[in-house]
């Protein structure tokens, strides 16, 4: 129980910090929208090809926006020097990781919730909220699980904005493929689709476990 309390305390601290500045929320949201708009120009979206391109556009926007946000949470701690203090707290490293992960999921989730209706309107595709919810939730968890671990790594270097996407993009390929395919199946149902949601869920479980176990090595001074 004390573990849970620690997680919630650190999470609440991060949420309050971000609520005060609001920079990250608005930045990520605007960025996601801009990607959707740019996609609209680059692929000349019309009603007849929307089902083929829209899932890709949506997930590129989400993945790019989440990477912007992932870099922030731990980098901000490093910038103001509070990371050392957080590490000095008698708190399990796993609790710190989980709190950061939940924080990242929350920030990405808010951006996704705002971007989804706008996406549906811009691309003129029906939005199956009920069916889309598990896809978005599980994929975000996967991206955040790997991303949180690597943002701690990248934050320790001089080139964190550059390094984070280079490290994270190759590793989340299964999530990207799975999410795009699963979303595409919603828009245009296909037969014999592999169990994409199962793949994403398996990815989540594996990397949540491994990241939690290895996080302490990354932040250790």
């Amino acid at each position: 129980m004390i573990f849970l309390e620690q997680v919630i305390t650190i999470l609440w601290k991060d949420v309050r910090y971000e609520l005060r500045s609001k920079q990250m929320w608005t930045g990520m949201g605007l960025f996601a929208l801009l990607v959707l708009v740019i996609f609209n120009f680059t692929f000349d979206l019309r009603v007849d090809n929307a089902a083929a391109i829209a899932p890709g556009a949506l997930w590129v926007a989400f993945v790019f926006a989440s990477l912007l946000g992932l870099g922030r949470t731990i980098a901000a701690e490093r910038e103001i020097g509070s990371m050392d203090r957080l590490l000095l707290c008698p708190v399990d490293r796993k609790a710190i990781y989980l709190a950061k992960l939940l924080g990242n999921m929350l920030f990405i989730g808010v951006v996704e919730i705002v971007a989804l209706p706008i996406f549906a309107a811009l691309f003129n595709v029906p939005l199956f909220v009920g069916a889309l919810l598990p896809i978005v939730l599980l994929s975000t968890l996967g991206i955040a699980a790997v991303g949180t671990l690597f943002s701690a790594m990248a934050a320790a270097t001089r080139a964190r904005e550059l390094l984070l996407p280079i490290l994270v993009f190759p590793l989340i390929v299964p999530i990207v493929i799975g999410a795009v395919r699963a979303t595409g199946t919603l828009l245009a149902p296909a037969v014999n689709e592999p169990p994409w949601l199962g793949l994403i869920a398996a990815f989540d479980v594996i990397f949540l476990t491994v990241s939690m176990l290895t996080f302490e090595y990354v932040v250790e001074e």
Partner: protein, 247 residues
Amino acid sequence: MALANRDTQTERQNSTIGTPGQNTRPPIASLALLTLTFIGMMTSIFMIFLYVPTDAIEGIPQRIFYFHVPIAWIGMLAFGVLAVASIGYLWKKDERWDWLARASAEVGTIFITLALITGSIWGRTTWGTWWTWDARLTTTLILWFIYIGYMMLRSYMGRTPASARSGAVLAIIGVIDIPIIYESVNWWRTLHPQAEVGTPGALPPEVVLTLMISLVTFTLLYSFLMLQIYQLQKMQALAQQLHANIE
């Protein structure tokens, strides 16, 4: 705490390296490996270009297969060694494991790059295209990105214990992720020819023999290069330590 840590690290380094007289010994293992690799390479080249029969369907270009397969094999083996050495480092906290990991990453990056290039040349003649998004090709490309990411991370973080730990975590995540990436791209689409060596009668004995010799040769070459870079890592660690002592 960080200082104390560094001290113990230095003491441990003193105990593992820097014993004089060790460096003056002739590098027997290195020379033996070099000789074996040289003989193997000459034999392989002879067998690939003169001994093995030309493929009935694919013709002469198929001969690149005897380079491509061993090179790709080494590219993957090196990542396996990198992952094992990384686990060893996190477990034992011994810097020697990290030298091994770094050496394997450096050699592996070269080999995986060569595998992509030779594969592309083969694909051009056989499939008529330099690149297709097939499961093995895509996974190899992603593996290449992970290797490059590893090298970038290590060079940005410098030669510190934090860098070694972060690199080790990246390698472990990578080695778990590779099969998942392969499976996901496989579900997505696939075209690469399936391995035919295991099934009896599928390939003529000359082909199997040439491939085996070539595989052994490239594994020897890998061991030779590993030994060289491992020694280099050791010397760099020693040099850094001496530099720190002067300051």
